[in-house]
Assembly symmetry: C2
Homo-oligomer: 386 residues x 2
């Protein structure tokens, strides 16, 4: 095993989560942030001045890679959104409308999807046919504005995007008051909630030595059916494609609170690398949340371009790189977090191969080759990149 062996007894890691309906300290803080925003605007109005919101610019030009923390961060450049400005008045009001609905959610201790938030906030202005929001493409950016403006994750505003991902293995959690043993999930796995904040989800105990995160559902199934996590004492999760916010928060919290190494297994293509990259240092889009979502220490277990020779794979696994793949790989090479020569070699090897490979393609060797040979060898040889 790559990680240090723990004692066999489950390690207790936390106490019970707060009961639903009870406002936590974090909820109170978020409410204060919303109130502060509102009070400041009110004060300005009382002075008969033009109320305005300062919102940091969410654009590539205001995003940078923090070499020390090794995450993508949003810079300090901000825009002022003013009430007395015909180009800004609508958005100004929309921001306060969303803030007010978020306040309701926190007070009632309920969470809704960003689509449901759109409906909660949509209505015609009295005596007019003007709608507060026309469609969700109008309300989603306002939610992000509010997150940046008051420095609160959307989860803290009691909002969520669609959930995705499953987890099983040597971990007991307590979620919304239910104690759930993830080693007793059958073939199905536990659906990773949209919101994985401390309030609802606590880690109760773990016997795991590490976390294995796979991109694809079918790979998760293969490993789960082979009980990989039992034999190797680990936690097994799938993001089912690009990691949703819940999955990213879960990974970060498991890393921080359980102090377990995380190995990531994705397809050997630019998309797989990108999934890894987002887990590792965040995304440009959500740069303002990297510190809450990214884990610079995640380890890249594969698939590596060099696996083709290392594991004697046949041409049956090859899928020719297309133009898009090549362009995307070149882009990746330019990312500062892939500047190290081991990463440059990895990406160059992919380009030199001229083909990509899926983890599923390991079944050309044998059904359980991935469980019995591929992953164990990688872990034994410490054959991973960071």
């Amino acid at each position: 095993m790559a990680a240090k062996k723990k004692t066999a007894a489950a390690v207790p890691v936390a106490s019970q989560p707060a009961k639903r309906g009870a406002q936590t300290e974090k909820d109170k803080k978020t409410l204060q942030k919303i109130e502060r925003l509102t009070l400041e605007a009110l004060k300005t109005v009382e002075k008969k001045a033009n109320p305005a919101l300062e919102i940091r610019t969410r654009a590539l030009s205001n995003v940078s890679f923090n070499e020390k923390k090794r995450i993508i961060e949003l810079g300090d450049r901000a825009q002022s959104r003013e009430f007395f400005n015909t180009a800004m008045a609508r958005k100004f009001m929309q921001t306060f409308l969303i803030a007010s609905k978020a306040k309701t959610l926190i007070e009632e201790d309920k969470t809704v999807s960003i689509r449901q938030m759109f409906y909660m906030s949509k209505h015609s202005l009295k005596g007019t046919s003007e709608n507060t929001f026309e469609d969700q493409s109008e309300s989603d950016p306002i939610i992000e504005d509010l997150e940046v403006a008051i420095d609160a994750l959307r989860e803290e505003l009691h909002l969520f995007a669609n959930r995705r991902g499953l987890v099983v293995g040597k971990l007991v959690v307590n979620d919304a008051g239910d104690q759930i043993d993830l080693s007793r999930m059958g073939r199905g796995g536990w659906g990773i909630p949209s919101i994985c904040e401390e309030k609802d989800l606590k880690f109760v105990s773990t016997k795991a030595d590490f976390i294995l995160l796979v991109e694809k559902q079918a790979v998760f199934h293969r490993l789960n059916e082979d009980k990989f996590w039992e034999k190797h004492s680990c936690i097994l999760m799938t993001t089912e494609g690009q990691a949703a916010r819940g999955a990213r928060r879960l990974v970060q919290r498991m890393h921080t609170e359980l102090k377990l190494p995380i190995y990531v297994l994705v397809d050997n293509d630019p998309w797989g690398l990108y999934i890894y990259s987002v887990l590792k240092q965040g995304s440009i889009n959500l740069a303002y949340e990297s510190m809450r979502m990214a884990v610079p220490q995640v380890r890249f277990l594969g698939m590596s371009a060099s696996d083709y020779k290392k594991f004697n794979l046949t041409s049956a696994v090859q899928i020719k790189l297309n133009k898009e793949d090549i362009a995307r790989a070149e882009q990746m090479k330019a990312y500062p977090w892939f500047a190290d020569k081991k990463w440059q070699k990895e990406i160059n090897d992919l380009l030199k191969n001229g083909f990509k490979m899926e983890v599923d393609a390991l079944l050309t060797k044998s059904i359980s080759f991935i469980t019995e040979e591929y992953i164990p060898k990688k872990l034994r040889d410490k054959d991973f990149l960071t």
Copy 2:
């Protein structure tokens, strides 16, 4: 409650599932079916004749609605696939290749995705550069051919498509040897496995009076957070869009084995109606499997076009029907299973409204309106269609 109240004690419904590795009666039967197919071909070869497979035609022209069983069925028209026929030889061999790999899966008691089956079966023919399969679009139809040829579900061939869907509520299951209490799933829910056959998944006990199936994940979340299933003693599931095969089999088995009524809540649009329709009598594509997947008794709880007036909704919930919606609705009106005048009225009302509505739009009333008013009223008034 719409359903008859059961005693409070959990009703035990089944015994333990078979251990992994043990071949069940069904596995043995499937193996026999594969062997029979092979032996027949061999016999023909020994007679120096042209071996052939009889495969029922999977085309609209060979599909019909069985009025008595109320499901979509595949007819008896078949095509002969011959070995000594340049147009058929490749597919003939591919069919046997897939059959042979399915045999391996059953013997080793493992299951793989249809993509993984593609990789298992892909190789270059010795001494040539000819591949057995070029890509998955070649292997998927061959899998369907084999299903029809030997009358076995792909799940019986140990194959699965991607899984989708979550379930929580008053049901205890045993899956692959793990006992799982679906009323202790926190906010996440149990991921419905890709394969929901008797071998791996057994119902242990239930205190539920009915099953509520919702299309959308966020609606499931709303109802789960409000603990709807606890207050109303039910099983709550989401298909997360169109129902995957696992979800459909689960619904059918819950209906048959637990004898519970099933209420379906989908968006008020042609896509929602189509999701309901597939649950109800199957799809044209998978007509040969309707009897194993469809439940003609499922009840349509909503959203109904008439809900707009019934629940005093505002114009904020309206989304204008587009051309596609209208064309699709007209198509639905022509389906024989929607011939009854109550269904004709339902679809006509949608067209007359000129707008569609999402279940999420009920949040324009209040956050928990759906949990506290909408569904309870529908159940109380027995306000559903079948």
